[in-house]
């Protein structure tokens, strides 16, 4: 498992500060996203996870500092060019009523098509591949509103995959999904990294889920990086105490050998 370095390749943030009005959300952020890995952004509510993800995706411009993509600032990148290199899936996206899976996935080709451009064979092939990767080919003609939450999330991921970007940013892709659907989405992510060499960054809420699946973890508190590295390096009870103010003990997952965080009861159980 490689450590992140400022290699100039891939996505990184240099001394980034972001504020909404007068509220500083993120400050002094230096972050390098390891290429070809699954990075999980974790931290309590309001720690700036989503803001950082949006900044990495070019949706929020930093007040100071730069986001670099392969060594060049993304601020000067045309939006379509950016969308051909970095895909971002927002949290809980909404689709118009009656939109089918195919029609949704086809939208992912937008950045590849010139104005007035016709639908090309590459477009069709990219959509087919995205549907196959997400196992949605059998549901292609179904309207999104008739699908389960997990299927719908896979359809949105398929749209982002049709963009054919090397880097994918996912904002809380498992929130609001039940356990089976969460596993479905997490396994899709690890599969995309393992077999397609994608670089994926996801904001996750579940620490244990993140530790089990992610190659690299970034733990945030109040807009700053508290710890980053492998799950074993990040998931320590000291870090958990520091960031979440929760006392915990860390054990190793008997199935995967990754750390599992067990929060301690606030009061010792009475016996």
């Amino acid at each position: 498992m490689q450590r992140p370095e400022h290699t100039g390749i891939g996505l990184s943030a240099q001394d980034v500060a972001i504020a909404y009005g007068r509220n500083p959300i993120v400050s002094g952020l230096d972050l390098a996203i390891p290429t070809g890995c699954f990075t999980a952004l974790i931290g309590p509510n309001g720690s700036g996870k989503s803001t950082i993800l949006r900044a990495l995706g070019g949706l929020t411009a930093p007040n100071t500092g730069t986001i670099l993509l392969d060594g060049h600032s993304i601020a000067r990148l045309p939006t379509k060019e950016m969308a051909r290199r970095v895909g971002l899936l927002a949290q809980g996206p909404a689709a118009p009523e009656g939109l089918t899976v195919t029609d949704l996935v086809r939208q992912g080709r937008y950045p590849h098509r010139p104005l007035f451009g016709r639908w090309s064979e590459q477009d069709a092939a990219a959509c087919e591949e995205a549907l196959a990767l997400t196992d949605m080919a059998g549901l292609r003609d179904r309207p999104l509103d008739s699908l389960s939450g997990g299927q719908r999330q896979r359809a949105w991921i398929a749209m982002t995959l049709a963009q054919q970007t090397a880097i994918l940013l996912l904002d809380e892709p498992t929130t609001f999904l039940d356990l089976a659907h969460q596993i479905e989405v997490m396994e899709l992510i690890t599969q995309l990294v393992a077999t397609r060499g994608k670089t994926i960054v996801a904001v996750l809420h579940d620490l244990n889920q993140a530790a089990r699946h992610a190659d690299h973890m970034v733990l945030l508190k109040a807009g700053r990086i508290e710890a980053s590295g492998t799950s074993a390096e990040v998931m320590t009870s000291a870090n958990i105490q520091q960031v979440f103010a929760v006392a915990s003990t860390i054990i190793l997952d008997p199935l995967t050998g990754t750390p599992l965080c067990l929060p301690l009861p606030r009061r010792p159980p009475q016996s």
């Binding site: 070019g58 060019e81 937008y110």
Partner: protein, 328 residues
Amino acid sequence: MRRVILLLMVLLMALATASLSHGDYPVPWRELVDVLMGRPGASPQAQMAVLDLRLPRLLLALLVGAALATAGAIVQAVMRNPLAEPGILGINAGAGLAAMVLLVALSGLSPAWLPLAGFAGAAAMAGLIYALAWRGGTSSLRIILIGIGLGSVAGAGATLLTAFGEIRDVQRAMIWLAGSVHHADWQTVETLAVWIALPLALTLAIAGELDVIRFGDAPARSLGQRVQLARALLIVLCTLLSGAAVAVAGLIGFIGLIAPHMARRLVGPTHWRLLPVAAFTGAALLAAADLLGRTIIAPAQIPAGVVTAMIGAPFFAYLLWGRRHAAA
């Protein structure tokens, strides 16, 4: 898709035949064919009724209906609101106020300026709403809120003028505002056709922008859309289309709201299918409304705008009722 278009074509043909043959001077369909084919058999009365009166009126209704429906489809996607219609951009309020000012406050001027004043009012209002909603960029919500605010200001201005104006002028203005195609002539038809041809074609050519912008600003941007630019361009197209429709026909409500909804039920929400079907639907709706309005209590005529409102409101309620079991 092809079946739906075919069905709408058949419906339009039936409507056209009915519109051209029905009226004070009924023209049987055999004679109608003679007139339209330019064969000598038809009587001069039939020729005049069909070619000079009913055909331009029918064509105007079709064009206005198509323009309003397309404008409605644009505004519903840009505002990401299924209840939006071109009126949200201040088109109706601006045109209404301009017409009132022209007919009531400046009653010396010729009513021939009416279409121009109507269009200018609509465009000025849309521009003002867009400018006021700008704060380093616009958002759909700000446009809607400012549109509602300015719309009621313009409405108050128009009401003020009616309260103090000459009663005859006010009545003329009210008749224009009611929205109708009864004064159609060939020149109006030609002007409108030329005017809306380019915006209609351009809208269809960039249907993909509508598909993307309706996801919301952030998702659209992460797909690579220059959202502010696309929104501004689409608002201009919508203003050109609905402003022109208002200028020649006055305020005709509900077509811009209902036609895109019907089209969505027929062919789904993707715009390269939705836009043409919505245009055909809007054209058929307005032609039907006009036919109904001039035959139901003939020889008196109900303005088409009144008919669309009377049919439109219950129809809209029916649409919502039909969807009450649909998944949220």
